[in-house]
């Protein structure tokens, strides 16, 4: 089985997981992720610490993220190569969704 086939089982990502993975293109610790997600989603997605801790745990066990460094109990995580593939596939799905949406809206006009 190739990595490509193997990653489909993670899709679709939840909105929270998608945004969390987006912020992890560079190493970031938990609270910074919470702030970044709220900022880049323009306040549409807020991630609570319970949700974030659960997502970190799941993603780390699945090998999609990995700990990059640890400073005074704050662990920073970043995407693994497998995580990058999953994220790219999700973006592809979203692109199809958005294009379909735009085409439908144009027909409605």
């Amino acid at each position: 089985m190739t990595i490509q086939d193997d990653t489909s089982k993670y899709l679709p990502l939840t909105e929270a997981t998608y945004y969390i993975m987006l912020t992890l293109i560079e190493p970031l610790h938990g609270y910074a992720v919470m702030q970044r997600v709220e900022q880049i989603s323009q306040g549409t997605v807020k991630v609570g610490p319970g949700t974030l801790y659960g997502v970190f745990d799941t993603l780390e066990k699945a090998g999609l993220i990995v700990m990059a460094k640890e400073e005074s109990r704050r662990k920073s995580y970043t995407l693994t190569p497998k995580g990058k593939i999953v994220l790219a596939s999700q973006i592809k799905r979203l692109e199809i969704m958005t294009n379909n949406g735009i085409a439908a809206m144009n027909q409605l006009k």
């Binding site: 939840t14 929270a16 938990g30 609570g48 610490p49 319970g50 005074s72 704050r74």
Partner: protein
Amino acid sequence: MGKTTVTKFRWFWAWQDEAEENWLEKMSKKGYHLSSVGLPCFYTFSIAKPRNYAYRLDYQMFRKKDKGECLQLFRDAGWEHIGEMSAWQYFRKEAKPGEPTEIFTDVESKIAKYKRVLAFLGFFYLILMTLIFTQRLPHTLSDDPYPWWGNIPQAIIVLVLIFFIYAIIKLTIRIRQLRKTVR
């Protein structure tokens, strides 16, 4: 000087965590602030002036090395960790307008929390079943008459087992309800 702390005994089932949070919030509004938990069902409150606190419960059986990381994350987000009662983690934050007071911000993570409880109950259920079978075995293998009191430990185990089955069913229903709310 009156008493500065008071301890209350109260039972909540695992799927009643929101009712438990509401109860703690009401207590704080009356000036009783949760100061420690530990033994199941015992809540110790310190008496001070009423405050508007949000209480939230998580269920986490930490490995030692992960606990610090998790609590640090909650602290960064403004949550104070009060204590732990059989893997239930008690958090508190001052409720201010415009400040988020949820620790779980999507249905998926709420379901995941109940699934952690369910995994623990399922594990215990298996242990109890094993106990029942291994208890029966020595008597059926020997010729000694089975004493009447020999049934007492078994009766207790069966009662506990019923209690567990009830909890597992109720939690499964709670998870189903939450699933229905997922878009």
